[in-house]
Every structure is written in C-alpha cells, then in structure tokens.
Symmetry: C2
Subunit: 221 residues, 2 copies
C-alpha cells in the first residue's frame, strides 16, 4: 500500500450519527421516531442521486428538508412548521460517533485530515465547529461548488485538488458502502466502516479494508 | 394540454409487476419472499442510480443479478446458483398488471404507444413478447444504447428521437414517481400511476396527473 499522506472522511453516517435525530423525532411522534429517521435518511440519499442524475442540483439543506417532508407524509405524520424546523436544526448538532475525536487526534500526527461531504457549506461548517472537530481537520470540503452530489466521480477529485495530495496517496473512509465503492473506483485506498455488519454492496470494486470503527484504521496503515 | 400523439410507458412497476417474483421467492425461502422481492427491487434501482453517477454502466441484467445477490446476503438467505437463475428468469415472465392489455388496446387507436425502459434489450424484448404486448407497441426502447439509466435526461430524449414526436406531444406514464418527475422535468406531460396511495416525491416538479391505473388515462386526455 502506498503511504497515505491524507485521510479523507465522509461526514454523515461516518463521523456523525445521522440517527441522532431520533430522540427529537420520537419526542414529537412517539413510537415513530426510529422509522422517521430511517426513512428521512433513505429519501435524503435517494434525492441526492436523482437530482444529480437529472442535472437539477439544489444544496443538501434543500434536499434534506424535502426528504423530511416526504418521510412525514409517508408515515402519515402531521408535522408542524416548528417541528420541521426543529428536526432540520439537528443537522448542525449531530452527535459524532464516540471514538471519532480521539481517533482523529491520533491520526492527525501523521496524516492530513479532511472531510469530503454532500453537506451544504454553512450547515457542514457549523456541525464541524459545534462538534469540536474543527481543530483536528485540515479541510472541510463540500460538493456544493460542483453542484453535484456523491458518487459523481468529480466529487472525489475535489479532495485531491484541495489537499494537494495525489490520488494514490489518499485514504478514504466512509460508512456508506456506496460512497466507499465510488471512492475505490476513483482510485483512493478505501476503508469501509461497517458499523452494522451489513453485506458489501455489489455494484463496483469492493473496498480495500472493512473495519468496524475509526479506531481500526491505524492497524491497517 | 397539447394533443398527445404518443404515449410512452415505463415497463417495470408500471406495465409489469416486478413483485410477481414473490411467489417464486416465497417457494424458495418460506416467509421471506415478500421481503426478498422488496429489497431486491430497492437495491436494483439504487444500483442503476449509483452506476449512472459513477459512469460505470453495466446493463440491467447485470445490475438485477447483483441486487438479488445483495438482497439474499442482507436477509441471510443462502441462495443456490439454481435458485438465483430461476429468480432472474422471472424477469422475462413478469405479470402485466390486470388492466394493461385492454387499456393499451383502446389507446392504440389514437396514439403511438411505446415502452421506454431501463431493461436490457434482450430481456425487455422477451418480456414484451411473452406477455403478449408486442403487437400493441410501436416501439420498445431501452436505455442501453446510451449506457446510462433513468433519470438521466438524455434517456427521455430517446423517445422523442425514436418516435419522431415532439417533446410537448408526448405523454409519459410511470408508476415510479421519481421517473415521472424526471419526465416532467424533461418536458413531457406526465401521468403518475399511484397504485399504492404513496405521497408524491418532492425533488422536482410534480406530475401533471395522478391516476390509479392505466384505465384512468383516457379521462385525462
């Protein structure tokens, strides 16, 4: 394996638990918080893919709100404007997974560290600051400048360009298997964080490494 | 509304019930046939979107097999090679929805009729022949020549080019709301067949008409 001068992390689902919205959702809709969180996330991703293919990009805030409204309608939940706003506001307050901060602090001594995310720059920046990860990162890169979402290949080129590190010296870390497969196709060395013991996706080259948490990265370097 | 000289139909889910694989799946995996069919379809669509965005097109047969293998793995079903082959073979034997044949026969007197589908030409052609719909159709158009799946906008242009009918004189019919929204964005007059009383998707312009079955088209013309 080449020396990995940079480690680039996906944000939502990888560093941050998108399902940390569940408690707030459960408070609003008792018994439905988990289902709402799951469907919201599923639709959010689906809308990023569809808008990218249609060539009708709108930023991740727009997509996230539309996905939430769809999920509420699908589950027959009458969400008030206040509840919608409160749920969307969680996106700058998502919990980092427990190991993230200490793992990044250790990795920082040997690697450039960055986020490459679908997130809109304002929301993503606020999340990184609020979670205390900002001092650990050399860059927080959003797809927004390209007006297309992952897994368009040119998104991954953004990390190469902004970090000044050749493709074959970038390690890419994602818990979204489809994101890991795309990054592998692009040419990165890929670590798929398989937190939930899911099967690997089968629409492209398999990730180089399958690990359980960020703490498992160093042993593979 | 302009005169709709052509009506273009999506195939899978619209004319043909993709879940007609359920009985065969249930025979192989008692109690799991419905779940397998649902997850298979979900992953099949997901893989078409991801491969299209990644620029790594493989035809729909390849995607369909990968999605089936993923779905089996996810549900912890040990499918034999014979079972995989038997399930895939259902794709040339899918049931048309009950009203399809008579509805197309009526519409044929006033409109050019065509299918525009993600399906691979061989499989799609066999399905259309086996189901007895071939004599009712002026064209069966596959995305395969473009090496990209729906909802890439250039897919919808295929129908305009092959039927020789202007965009604003094409009516497009799909039970896949995302497909209907894309066709609307492209410029067709769109009929979304909402067989399951689902909410409309929210990532683009809403369909012109929301109907329950193909029998409802004529009343809207």
């Amino acid at each position: 394996m080449p020396t990995l001068d940079a480690l680039v992390f996906d944000a939502y689902g990888t560093l941050y638990d998108v399902h940390s919205v569940t408690a707030k959702a459960e408070g609003f809709f008792p018994g439905k918080g988990g289902a709402l969180s799951q469907l919201w996330r599923t639709k959010q991703l689906e809308y990023t893919w569809l808008r990218s293919l249609m060539g009708t990009y709108e930023n991740f805030n727009v997509v996230t709100e539309a996905a939430l409204r769809y999920a509420c309608a699908s589950l027959r939940l009458e969400a008030s404007a206040t509840q919608i706003s409160a749920l969307l506001a969680q996106y700058v307050l998502l919990d980092a997974f427990p190991e993230v901060k200490t793992a990044l602090a250790r990795l920082k001594s040997r690697h450039k560290l960055a986020i490459l995310s679908n997130g809109a720059p304002d929301t993503l920046g606020a999340l990184v600051r609020n979670s205390g990860l900002a001092p650990l990162l050399d860059a927080t890169i959003s797809v927004d400048s390209l007006r297309v979402f992952k897994p368009a290949m040119r998104v991954y080129q953004l990390a190469v360009d902004q970090l000044g590190v050749p493709t074959n010296c970038v390690g890419f870390v994602s818990s979204n298997c489809w994101d890991a497969i795309a990054a592998k196709t692009f040419g990165f060395t890929v670590f798929w964080i398989n937190r939930l013991d899911a099967p690997v996706d089968l629409h492209g080259a398999a990730p180089d490494h399958v690990i359980r948490t960020l703490d498992d990265i160093e042993a593979r370097l």
